[in-house]
Amino acid sequence: MILLPCAWCGPRDAAEFQHVGEVVTRPDPRTATPAQWRAYLYLRANPRGWTVETWYHRMGCRRFFKVERHTETNEVRPVTAAEVPGAAAAGVAGPAGAAGPAGMAGTAGTAGTAGPAGAAGAAGAAGTAGASG
């Protein structure tokens, strides 16, 4: 299990966290075109290498924070605002189980409660995707 450097709690097992996903910038809802908005909803760089992403310390300090992770080795290193494109945004396209990246995984279900209990929300998802056996 990888260790994640929570900015407030120090290194903790990844199991304590919710992976929110790549940092994305929210377009201005007043001026966004459908193309821009749906790029924000659905398109991710999905790089093989270093990427800046948001994690939520769900079973800890309940803080959202950014970290840079290598998607092949899973090494992590801290990011400072300067290094972050669209510094403020952390990807609010959707909460776990909804339209956001977490939803795309089809695993998160209703976030907050760990394991199957929490996953109950995604029972349907598991039926079609989560456990596609």
């Binding site: 299990m1 990888i2 260790l3 450097p5 929570c6 900015a7 407030w8 120090g10 290194p11 919710q18 929110v20 929210r26 809802p29 007043r30 966004a32 459908p34 908005w37 924000y40 909803l41 948001t54 939520y56 769900r58 309940r62 803080r63 959202f64 924070f65 970290v67 080795t73 899973n74 992590v76 290193r77 801290p78 990011v79 400072t80 403020a88 945004a89 952390a90 990807g91 609010v92 396209a93 959707g94 909460p95 776990a96 189980g97 909804a98 339209a99 956001g100 939803g103 209703t110 976030a111 907050g112 409660t113 394991g115 199957p116 209990a117 929490g118 109950a120 929300g121 349907g124 998802a125």
Partner: protein
């Protein structure tokens, strides 16, 4: 003639005819005799015997039958990974008989034998062997297709394994977490020396050895070996910083040096218990070498998973001896040199009477010496270094004769081979290593350059050399492993932005860090290990078994390559070589060599396969550990149980589904007053000047003008416009609000709000506190609810004028202060939702029932509530909506305020409105009111699906069935008659109602 055969002639029990006189390093305790049953016959054994050593001592040679050809199989390695020694112990399948210690009364049986081990009918497969070549099943059983299940039945009958009983007692053993600085995998001389060095450098060390005692090959290394072991064991015992785990194995190394260690049973040593054979030599000196043999009484077979977050991992597993490939190499009586040395030195068992030995190295030579000492007649030694070779072994139930290089055929009952080694690089694969082949040493070595900083390697896997060189290397590695721990610990915490910033800002810290790093000693010089020359011996002149558990021969591999499966991976998958219980430990390198020879590539070019975790098999029970599946109850649960509530599993919550007849409960709410436990409703306490901005962002409707004392219903959407959650929020004070969410949405919406506040609007002044379980929540509903509320509340004027619909009050209920009353309702009746401090929940619940007895106050469950809300046409998010239902489709037009600057999902909703709403949630009533279409029944429009029933119940109020349905916009017009297909296939007609509500559409009853 085997002792057992003899015994049977004599009609008496088997005797340990092959047991030798006491050996200096033996681990059996001759003072403690046991007996156990093998295929129904009682056998003698000593404490410390493995199942197989005891059987071998009694002259048994055949312990299982092979997968495909059902050839007899015996001892090969005399260790955990001996393929022929898998047995069934009671209800435990696939027990490693050459490792599992005998316990008194143990019931052991052979696997994969029918009708018996001695006479196995499926043995006829040997005759069929010629065309049961690898992958034969891909080429036949194809026609006619209808017969495949029958063919399959035959294949399944050949499954080579133990059986599992449905009555097996559930077992979920505890797990353990450990945080050693240094974890040493392998308790041979190198591992022991590394552990000692690391401990002396101040590190906390966990030393893990798969066998029952520390010492590795020193244990069968004769007097010299035992003396050296005694010294090392004493050093280990002298280091309080070392924790020793014997009969334990490192299963895997995962990212972040998260290391899985499996402690095995039965009978893990009780701390400090002395091993038998203490007298027999230094092996057992002190607790260090206390083997499971010491544990008494022996506990039932258990495994325990230890999860270790090690700073550094030292890999010192030693080497695995490789079998040689030639005709008859799987016959009982063909053994590896380590096998005979273990049998003789550890278990005092004579492996045979007349032996031929093929040796290519010192260990083979040592085996010859051991055999002579054990009184085995050495009839021939073939020295591979001088061109010696074994061509074939023959015999039926076991070796009877061996043909050697010069063609002579020698009668014998034992053939020992010592042809080289395999480096078990499993733990290194997971650390980035790709082993490189050395033709000189005839084995693979780890590629140290690719290893991550927190993994080090020592012992035979790293190189050769005498004991002195190995321990010197291991000592350096252990010291270096300890040195690196400080840096790795610092790196882990410095990766945290805060601490990094702190370190950067606070000069003192920086100084400290700098000081620490400068104070840190430089890298330890690691002496090189020599690489001894060793002949490349993999497959001989004849074809033989490569994978003993899968019955895959060298001929099969050549055939696979000829058929185009010409890489190790393809050949492996086609023949299933290395796919069995051994996972390649014995057979991978031979397979690689054979594929290489067939493709004309070098072994280096061919490469080896990737080892996948776990390194050794592990029970599901040990992996699972104790079940941690918490459930949540409200404070009123004891009352519910006492009153026969039927439980409903709702996510983590267990709720009362009903107390009796739900329809009656519902009627009581419509006519009198009912109370329901709604504690699981999500509750968030919101404080701060910017709460209205947050509400305006999360909800689709407007919140800027919510007055103190008012409550409003709101709907939330995700950014794709899909309905996410709904609930009410009330304003309790100038900057104080209480938000409710759906039960299952509680955690999600909290995270959702925090996400917006922390990442998009960190400047907003809002503090969110989850109070779901801080309050017990009770809904009081029905025409008489006001009467009941008046009786139990103080300081709240509950007249309609003073406390109208959609308002909130705080006050005292049943003597309990700080309660919140919401005049809202899910049922469509006059109703109040009470949120009382959780500790008083049961008290308030009972008070309500007591004081309301004459009003007809009675509890109702979730089912009755579902009936009532459906009659009223209130939707349930996630039931009447799905993962694609945007707010307009849910019929929430009235709530959606597109003139707001921004709210989650606004653009999508604007586009939905512009582009046509699509699906619509509608009320629906079957023409035949006695029919309740099952939820999820489909709505059909000339053969195509046009929607589905999302909710349906029989309405006690209307005496007819009522539904909600999601339908194509085309069919949403009130009065439209739709065709519903019931699960039975029957089709019925149903009409779209003017609005979602079936009962009291204009909501008069809620406002009285």
């Amino acid at each position: 003639m085997s002792a057992r055969a003899a015994a049977q002639r004599r009609g008496s029990a088997p005797v340990a005819a092959m047991r030798l006189s006491p050996q200096p390093g033996e681990v059996i305790d001759r003072s403690r005799e046991l007996s156990f049953s093998w295929n129904g016959v009682e056998y003698p054994a000593y404490h410390g015997d493995t199942i197989i050593s005891a059987l071998a001592a009694a002259g048994e040679r055949v312990f299982s039958r092979s997968l495909k050809y059902h050839r007899p199989r015996g001892l090969l390695t005399a260790g955990f990974h001996d393929p022929g020694c898998m047995v069934q112990v009671g209800d435990e399948p696939n027990v490693r008989g050459a490792h599992r210690l005998v316990s008194g009364g143990m019931t052991v049986g052979s696997q994969n034998t029918w009708p018996s081990l001695r006479f196995d009918a499926k043995g006829v497969n040997r005759l069929a062997g010629r065309y049961l070549t690898a992958g034969f099943y891909y080429k036949t059983f194809m026609q006619p297709r209808a017969l495949w299940p029958a063919y399959e039945g035959v294949l399944r009958r050949f499954v080579n394994a133990g059986s599992v009983s449905p009555d097996t007692a559930p077992g979920r053993p505890e797990q353990r977490y450990a945080h050693p600085d240094v974890l040493v995998a392998g308790g041979g001389p190198a591992g022991m020396a590394a552990a000692v060095a690391a401990a002396r450098a101040g590190a906390h060390v966990m030393l893990v050895e798969e066998d029952h005692q520390l010492g590795g090959h020193l244990r069968w290394g004769g007097e010299a070996g035992l003396a050296a072991l005694g010294e090392l064991a004493a050093q280990v015992a002298a280091e309080p910083g070392i924790e020793v785990l014997t009969d334990a194995v490192v299963l895997g190394r995962y990212d972040g040096n998260w290391i899985a260690v499996l402690e095995r049973g039965p009978g893990r040593p009780a701390a400090g218990a002395a091993a038998p054979g203490d007298s027999a030599g230094p092996v057992a000196a002190g607790p260090v070498a206390a083997g499971p043999v010491a544990a008494s009484p022996v506990v039932a077979s258990t495994e325990r998973l230890v999860k270790a977050r090690a700073k550094t991992l030292v890999v010192a597993p030693g080497l695995i001896e490789r079998p040689y490939v030639f005709a008859g190499n799987d016959l009982p009586g063909v053994m590896l040199s380590t096998a005979v040395r273990r049998l003789i030195n550890l278990y005092a068992v004579k492996p045979g009477e007349r032996a031929v030995v093929l040796t290519a190295n010192a260990d083979g030579d040592a085996a010859v010496a051991d055999l002579k000492r054990a009184g085995v007649d050495i009839v021939r030694v073939e020295d591979a270094r001088l061109g010696g070779d074994v061509v074939a072994a023959s015999g039926r139930g076991g070796v009877r004769a061996v043909e050697v290089a010069d063609g002579t055929r020698i009668l014998c009952d034992l053939l020992v081979t010592a042809v080289g080694w395999t480096a078990p690089t499993a733990l290194l694969n997971a650390s980035g290593d790709r082993p490189v082949y050395s033709a000189r040493a005839a084995r693979f070595f780890p590629d140290l350059a690719r290893l991550s900083d927190d993994v080090l390697v020592t012992g035979g896997i790293a190189g050769d050399g005498g004991l002195a060189e190995l321990t010197q290397h291991a000592t350096a590695i252990g010291t270096e492993a300890a040195r690196r721990t400080a840096r790795i610990a610092r790196a882990r915490s410095l990766a945290c932005p805060a601490s990094a910033a702190a370190a950067a800002s606070a000069a003192g810290t920086v100084g400290a860090v700098a000081a620490a790093s400068s104070a840190e000693p430089g890298p330890v010089a690691i002496p090189g290990l020599p690489v001894d020359a060793h002949p490349e011996l993999f497959a001989g002149r004849t074809h033989g078994m490569v994978d003993f558990s899968e019955d895959v021969s060298s001929k099969d591999l050549l055939g696979a390559v000829a058929e185009g499966y010409d890489s190790v991976e393809l050949a492996k998958r086609f023949t299933t070589a290395t796919m069995g219980p051994l996972q390649g430990k014995l057979e991978t390198i031979n397979a690689v060599a054979i594929v290489a020879s067939a493709t004309g590539q070098s072994i280096a070019e061919t490469g080896t396969t990737t080892w996948r975790p776990p390194y050794a098999p592990v029970t599901l029970g040990a992996l699972a550990g104790p079940a941690h599946q918490p459930v949540r109850y409200s404070p009123m649960q004891p009352w519910h149980e006492a009153h026969g509530a039927a439980p409903l599993v709702a996510g983590a919550w267990i709720r009362p589904d009903r107390y009796g007849d739900p329809a009656a409960e519902a009627r009581n709410v419509r006519e009198r007053v009912g109370i329901i436990d709604v504690t699981p409703i999500g509750k968030l306490d919101l404080r701060g000047a910017d709460v209205p901005r947050l509400l305006n962002l999360l909800y689709v409707n407007k919140w800027s003008k919510l007055e103190i004392g008012r409550v409003r219903y709101g709907v939330m959407c995700a950014e794709d416009g899909v309905v996410l959650d709904d609930g009410v929020t009330g304003r309790l004070g100038a900057e104080h609000y209480l938000m409710s969410t759906t039960s299952s949405g509680a955690a999600t919406i909290w995270e959702w709000a925090e996400n917006w506040l922390q990442t998009e609007h960190p400047d907003w002044q809002v503090h969110v506190t989850p109070v779901t379980t801080a309050y017990a929540s009770i809904n009081v509903a029905g025409p008489r609810s006001r009467d009941l509320i008046e009786r139990v509340t103080e300081g709240v004027d509950s007249t309609n004028e003073a406390f109208p619909y959609m308002h909130v009050r705080t006050g005292r209920i049943a003597g309990v202060d700080d309660c919140v009353l919401w005049r809202i309702g899910f049922t469509g009746e006059l109703s109040y939702e009470l949120h009382v401090p959780a500790g008083y929940g049961l008290h308030v619940w009972e008070t309500l029932l007591e004081r309301g007895a004459d009003l007809g106050a009675a509890p109702f469950g979730v089912e009755a509530q579902r009936i009532l809300r459906l009659e009223k046409g209130h939707l349930i998010v996630g039931q009447d909506t799905d993962g694609l239902t945007r707010a307009f489709s849910a019929g929430l037009d009235w709530a959606i305020k597109l003139d707001k600057d921004d709210f989650a999902g606004k653009p999508e909703l604007a586009w939905q409105l512009a582009g046509g709403v699509g699906q619509r949630l509608v009320g629906l009533q079957p023409a035949d009111g006695s029919v309740v279409p099952e939820e999820a029944s489909q709505i059909i429009d000339d053969g195509r699906i046009a929607g589905r029933i999302t909710s349906s119940r029989m309405s006690p109020a209307l005496g007819r069935s009522v539904c909600l349905a999601l339908v194509d916009g085309r069919f949403a017009e009130p009065g439209t008659v739709l065709t519903v297909r019931l699960p039975s296939g029957r089709r019925i007609e149903a009409m779209v109602t003017p609005q979602l509500a079936h009962v009291d559409p204009d909501g008069g009853r809620m406002r009285v």
